[in-house]
């Protein structure tokens, strides 16, 4: 069997499904499929449950992360997406997962104990200074955000100023309905883009339509 096609660093395509190489062979995180190929094990990435996975399916060309990079992930929840990112950065990397809910943190802490590159922070992403001491000294290569708050863009900007490297990449998934329940989704996303425009160079905006309803992923680089 030939090796699977590599779409970007650490992300593979197997039979039309995207997948990452499993860091802990034999262990599932959220009930996904495990595929054995040439002695390596791959975990398939479900785009219906992960917004980053959905964005890759919809044509995101590059994640700009690889072996050994440091990431900050806001809205870690139960660690579905984060587990795949942890596959990509391997043991040398580090991912800080921030979430406010103790209920979902329960599962995430369990995941963190298994994977050596995951670091949990139970805190409010709206107040990045509240976990400043815990991250002190680290600067993220990329910032991921998936929180359904009304001030999503502001939270993203605050955290980027505090922890994202200059020229670092940002992936903001916008949930239109938690910003305004009335306005059309495209208009909402456009206003969110404008908010980022001062400090970020927007590279692409991806609609996550079949996988997520009225969500968009804004892919940008810090100026």
């Amino acid at each position: 069997m030939p090796d699977p096609k590599q779409i970007m660093e650490g992300v593979f395509e197997i039979n039309g499904h995207i997948a990452t190489q499993n860091l802990l062979p034999g262990k599932k995180v959220y009930g996904e499929d495990l595929v054995q190929l040439n002695g390596k094990e791959y975990r398939s990435w479900n785009p219906n449950r992960s917004k980053v996975g959905a964005a890759i399916k919809k044509g995101l060309k590059e994640l700009h992360i690889g072996k050994g990079s440091t990431l900050l992930y806001l809205g870690a929840a139960e660690g579905t997406t984060i587990s795949h990112l942890s596959d990509i950065v391997k043991e040398d990397g580090a991912i800080f997962g921030v979430d406010i809910s103790a209920r979902s943190m329960r599962k995430f802490v369990y995941l963190c104990e298994q994977r050596p590159n995951l670091i949990p922070i139970l805190g409010d992403a709206n107040q990045p200074m509240s976990y400043k001491e815990q991250i002190s000294g680290f600067h993220a290569d990329a910032l991921f955000q998936d929180v359904s708050q009304k001030n999503q863009a502001e939270i993203f900007l605050k955290n980027a100023r505090a922890y994202l490297k200059p020229q670092g990449y940002g992936f903001l998934s916008v949930k239109a309905r938690s910003i305004d329940s009335k306005e059309s989704a495209s208009k909402i996303v456009e206003t969110e883009e404008k908010k980022l425009l001062k400090e970020f160079e927007i590279l692409n905006v991806i609609n996550l339509e079949p996988f997520e309803k009225e969500h968009a992923m804004i892919y940008c680089r810090r100026k």
Binding site: K58, G59, L60, K61, D92, A94, A102, M105, R106, V109, C112, E113, P116, L118, I119, P120, I121, L122, Q134, S181, K182, S184, A185, S186, E190, K194, L197, I202, L203, N204, V205, I206, N207, E209, A216
Partner: protein, 437 residues
Amino acid sequence: MNKIEELRKKLIQSAKHKIQEKYEGKETHIIKAVNLLEDLDMSSNLLAEQLREWYSTYFPELNEFVQDDSKYAELVHTLGERKSFHEKDVNKIIGDSDNAKNISAKSRNSMGSNIAEEDLAEIKTLALNCSNLKKEREYLAEYVEKNMSKELPNFTEIAGPIIGAKILAKAGSKKRLAFMPASTIQLIGAEKALFMHIKSGVKGPKYGYLFQHPLVKTASRDNKGKLARSIAGKLAIAAKKDYFGNKTSANEMKQELKERSEALEKAKPKEKVREQIPEQKFERKNYETPSWKRERPQRVERRGFENFSERDTRSRPQMGERKPWQKFGDKKDDFRRDPDHSTGRNSGDRMAERSSGGFRKRFDDRADFPRKRDAGVSAYGANKFGDKKKEFTPRSGNRDEPWKQNKFKPGYKPGSGKPHGKPGFGKFAKKKFDKKR
């Protein structure tokens, strides 16, 4: 690398510690219990329904005489067979001698079919489970009552334990409840109606869980909303008292609410005064004279017709764009296509949305051309994705200068495409148009 490993272990410990702290408050248990209470209600009702259905094949008359589910279940479980429905035993359970007499009489002469012992045993265990669920529900309600009056004494005094606990569950914690405005407390439990109201502008809800409050329940229909509002106001005060540790009791507030409800009931509801329409009297027409001999009514010109041109501009879209050779009402007219002038289905916003392909198409396009933006395409313009607005082109001929159209050229024959041979027509075409103007 070592540093990260150390940090990781430390942060995992601290996260665990924080999770522990989060669930230590008493209110978490109240919230879980109340959530369970709603589920228990639903499932016990379902079981009771199935039990009645099943047992009615054997003793259908019992279904009508015993309305209470828990008593029914107990009867089925303890007595079971029809012949053991003696008046004494039945009376012990339902506590109603007349009814017991009836039931025992009916059991002698039932229209139910016979049943095997094995099947009856199955029904009995179902009845046992059913009555146990009912008991569990009662214990749980007691538990909630006890703890609510301990945790939020003032709040519970006004709202009642179960409704109070439901509101607390929606709020999430004592702290969040204390910081809630009264208007939010009033509408908790009516989220669906509220969002329908915001979205589509139907009438907003007046009460959520507070609809079950005894004061609101007994109020007349017009006063329900008002009472719910004032109760919510008092609840907001009480929640703050409880959270910040003010020990004054809520009796005063309760008294005020009672007075308010009495005052509302006393006040006469506004009577809707209808305008009295005077009875129309019709004069009997004189049919004896034939119609052609009758005097004709004088013809009055209808309003708006006196000044024709004025009326025209008022009722129709502005026609400044219309060229004099264009027929009015022609579908190809420019101003009809112009989105600013039209209303309804093809109005401006919708036309613009359609021409740009809607939300989905726009973003799909952008996914394909990430580089296009780098190359200096303006970020926010109407035509950022390269789809230009279609310019309207008339189907044939030159509309701005119609005298240059083919059919006015000398030698034009309709159908042949060649100018026809009428001399002079082409020459004077322009002059003719000028005259018409």
